[in-house]
Symmetry: C2
Subunit: 444 residues, 2 copies
Amino acid sequence: MTSAAQPAAGQPGDRRSCSTALLTDQYELTMLDSALRDGTGHRRCAFEVFTRRLPEGRRYGVAGGVQRVLDAVAEFRFGEDELRALSGTLDDATLDWLREYRFTGHIDGYPEGELFFPGSPLLTVRATFAEAVVLETLVLSILNHDSAIAGAASRMVSAGNGRRLIEMGSRRTHEKAAVAAARVAYLAGFAATSNLEAGRRYGIPTAGTAAHAFTLLHDDERDAFRAQIDALGTGTTLLVDTYDITRGIERAIEVGGTGLGAVRIDSGDVGVLARQAREQLDSLGATGTKIVVSGDLDEHAIAALRAEPVDGYGVGTSLVTGSGAPTAELVYKLVEVEGRPVAKRSSRKESRGGRKSAVRRHKETGTAVEEEVFGIRAGSAEPVLGPHDRFMQIPLVRDGAQVDGLPGLEDSRQRLRHALVTLPWEGLKLSRGEPAIPTSFAQS
Amino acid sequence: MTSAAQPAAGQPGDRRSCSTALLTDQYELTMLDSALRDGTGHRRCAFEVFTRRLPEGRRYGVAGGVQRVLDAVAEFRFGEDELRALSGTLDDATLDWLREYRFTGHIDGYPEGELFFPGSPLLTVRATFAEAVVLETLVLSILNHDSAIAGAASRMVSAGNGRRLIEMGSRRTHEKAAVAAARVAYLAGFAATSNLEAGRRYGIPTAGTAAHAFTLLHDDERDAFRAQIDALGTGTTLLVDTYDITRGIERAIEVGGTGLGAVRIDSGDVGVLARQAREQLDSLGATGTKIVVSGDLDEHAIAALRAEPVDGYGVGTSLVTGSGAPTAELVYKLVEVEGRPVAKRSSRKESRGGRKSAVRRHKETGTAVEEEVFGIRAGSAEPVLGPHDRFMQIPLVRDGAQVDGLPGLEDSRQRLRHALVTLPWEGLKLSRGEPAIPTSFAQS
């Protein structure tokens, strides 16, 4: 191993920088340029992140990526590399302004793991126009991706009904998106991920044993099983469907003994196969050996397997692609300029102007009944809370600094679990339907 | 701007490393660990990337991300940070092996921008099992994402029928996936991207002027238009649908003059609106002012606008989500061990063993008729080429080093354009159908 691959001459190298500043649409910087020239860039503004609709038929959204947004905003700095890339497009004065850029405004939002609905003010950014407009793309990229995956993952966890789910979709999505997807899958209640970078970066439990290639590499299936058990112990999971599942299970117990951790089935009609595998394992005395299934599972397939003797699911493609809804369709809209509400007016895509927050109303039983969105104006009174109601936004950033004690990933995981319990039961149905609770817009 | 946001205490920081080594599923390293122990890790293997099927109804695939794979393989190194993250899971001997890891094998594949079909051997990696197995996830993540977006983008370019397409989907996908998506959109024939990082990293033309927020920021639409023209000149594109489109166009020409570059319409029934806008612009004397439309466009919407006076399209969500097919479903399968073909046998997901390559057969007119996949064995003869036939794989990496003179992004863009011309005309239809040409598997 002496000769290393090098980018071919003439290929732009895949340069990476820790700065997030160019993960941005050009128009944000051309707007900035114009607004700094004519002075409007210094007007105090509020931008709001919300969705006009949930993905078709979905009953709730899950706020995913909030902490990633805050970290990305902190890393939103223009170094000399970034400024050089922009020097043809922008004024020198604008470049100087960007060189000094630090976000100094306020951010309020739904804590990560919270449910949201159409119109929920998921995130509110208050700053000068100049400071806030440049964050649009980055904020939306993170929230749209992470919330889409979190929403799909949450339905899978509900469908799994307490059984163990492992995220293994990295290979079916962009290599960096995979890391973020693993993070929100865990947030949504998945037990572990196959993605090692997610393990390192976010401290998520990782899992994984062997693929068909490992069996095919060996001259005999038993050799492969033996090698795996030598390395990982008898608690490991053996993949038994490379050649013939019945023979595979027989050999797995022959090699691993009746204390074998689990077998995995990755193809075929996994429900039927799981039942047969359970009978075979029991008849061999391996009553404690678990059955893990994988291969093109989505929330509906997981639900359909509820009655089968399956102990765990490996979920890949459908998770990392949002199970039919790969983006959350969140938008980042200017809603207030110098205290004055503003909104686009030309079409059905109408927006409600003014800075807003929300209360989630609950029955006495604790069941949620309504998302009440209300305007925040100087001098106007806040809504009165019932005993089970709560304000949805929390302060996330003040004067550019992250608020102390923000919820961590484990907190967010708990939050989602609790929030789902408050939904009316129809809200957890997998079938297509209306949002679990309606959104009302309070007159102010 | 003095106080900068900092990750909250106790939050795992979003550490970034140039190493791609942990963008990997855990099982690759547990397989490695076991295979190094029992000696099978040193067996010479061939892994093949292919798809069993195209996304439903699609007629061809586009090889996207090949150069990104080669660069990522070159950066696949385990530094002390990566090794520390793995130290609980793996043998010390395995960690030592990883510390020295450099890919030293061979990679052959379809050049980027080439079409592929079910069974096409898109990429073949030859190395020891140990060296090749660890690349599985990274190779697939890149190819699955980039090829999915490239395939969708290519259909949009066909639908656009020569009109200018601008990629503006960054906000609807993971922030790093957005950069890769912009790259393959350009590969597929898009004229420009809104994504600044893609501009910097890959030299792609960037575009973008202003959003509704910029108009709302100003007290009067005219002020916004004036500010934009002051900064960007009269060749710019003014967004005219914030309040009322007819008034917006009137003001745009009032401020920008009849030499205004373009107006953009982002909402409503853009076909009807484009026709009205054209009439209005012409009646104002702005006959050279172009019309750009955006807002929830996909390949079908673009095709439906062919008869309308639209000069350019801004495409977002549907592009970066693969227009219904967010992943290409490519797999990375072990096909050969020490010269012996291997294949999984237990289900319908059958694979063909043995290292393979392909010839694309063409009629005398140059129209493609068949993808002929053939086995490569020592001593077996290569297929005979007709005058218009060609071998599909090219050498990409030899002894770990990228082959000199690999096609760059512009070359790949040309390649795709030419390849599409060779398809039977039904192959370019947007409607659901069979692959444009059948794949045959030659007996060897």
